[in-house]
Symmetry: C2
Subunit: 197 residues, 2 copies
DNA sequence: CGGATACTAGATAGATCGATCTAGAGAGAG
DNA sequence: CTCTCTCTAGATCGATCTATCTAGTATCCG
């Protein structure tokens, strides 16, 4: 093993794909950013750019997943508050990065949707993983239908990220978080103590 | 004027940007698809690819806007049903096109967010226009806060489109439509006749 | 008819793209 | 030590990218 070149390549690719997208990012730029030699790229990723893309999507997806897990573990208050935190954290990351760090998957997903089946499939897998983890959490709190609500949350999340990033305005993320969190809260099972407004 | 070459270039660019994105689409491919001579491209768009991109975004945005207007005019039943129709129509377009025709703006918006200010701004304007039109409709029915709910609807819409297109599954659009439409319905002002479950 | 303008046509430039190739450095095993 | 395998290093290839440039054709006005 020895070198971490491969990891640095993945990391650099993740960052660049997130900011600029897949097509606009050149392999030369990735090796430069990673401080990796050109020859190493095809050593570690003999499948070329597409393989690097697929692995990068998986890498970014797993990392983002961990961020969701963190939010869910931390929130003792319930899933609705966890959802709100997830939106809030992303809004902060987006804003402090100068509106650069949006969803690490969405841009590639849209670019690849009709141009690369392996890449599209990798993105679909990531989304499915996020959804499944969230659905488990909802189900464990009796929030049903858990699968549908998880899909709904991620749809609103991804869309709000697009609107906020494009408009350089965290408003959409904030506004959407409020409404979505309320929707989730309203689906919580009745507890013995009133859960009024 | 005479020729419609300029319009055909815009149309071809709109279709290709929608399917493949901005960076992955070459100018040569656009002229070929439009059946337009290469020389005409820089005659009509002296600003090059970026100008073509900006005008294409405006063109696509206006056309999609008309589709929203149609839905809103047709729906005598109320804004919540109009929202549902908007999701349903997009789901049909997406599915019948073989998962190619998603949002004509979103892909370019994400690609351009950190790479081209003119392009990003054009996308932001389109989103703002959609939101404003929807907010007016909500407000006219007494659905408040109209602006926030319009943002929320478009966030959920854009996100659901991404999930459905990436997964080759209309489920996210359908599921999200249900929940969002219900949220809008719940915000309608109390009428004299009960508006129960 | 002449002459200006609008548009077409495509060659060409220069840069950069992804990908392949050969050569060599480095470390660990025997 | 020497052999072997992993990884580095970068030259190089053909294709394609955006953009510019020069001609040539059509069209409309007088």
């Amino acid at each position: 093993m020895g070198s971490d070149t491969r990891a640095r390549l993945l990391e650099a690719a993740a960052q660049l794909f997130r900011e600029q997208g897949y097509a606009a990012t050149g392999l030369k730029q990735i090796t430069a950013e990673a401080g990796a030699p050109w020859g190493s790229l095809y050593h570690f990723f003999p499948g070329g750019k597409e393989q690097l893309g697929v692995e990068t999507v998986g890498h970014s997806g797993a990392r983002y997943q961990r961020l969701f897990d963190l939010v869910y573990e931390r929130a003792e208050v319930g899933a609705d508050e966890a959802v709100r935190d997830m939106f809030r954290l992303s809004a902060e990351a987006l804003e402090t990065s100068g509106w650069a760090d949006g969803c690490p998957i969405a841009t590639v997903a849209l670019e690849a949707a009709s141009t690369s089946e392996p890449l599209r499939h990798a993105c679909a897998d990531v989304f499915a993983g996020w959804r499944a983890a969230t659905a488990r959490r909802f189900a464990s709190e009796g929030i049903e239908p858990a699968e549908d609500l998880a899909v709904y949350v991620f749809a609103a999340f991804e869309g709000a990220l697009i609107l906020s990033r494009t408009g350089h305005d965290a408003g959409p993320l904030r506004v959407t978080a409020d409404i979505v969190a309320r929707t989730i809260r309203d689906r919580r099972p009745r507890s013995e103590t009133a859960s009024g407004v």
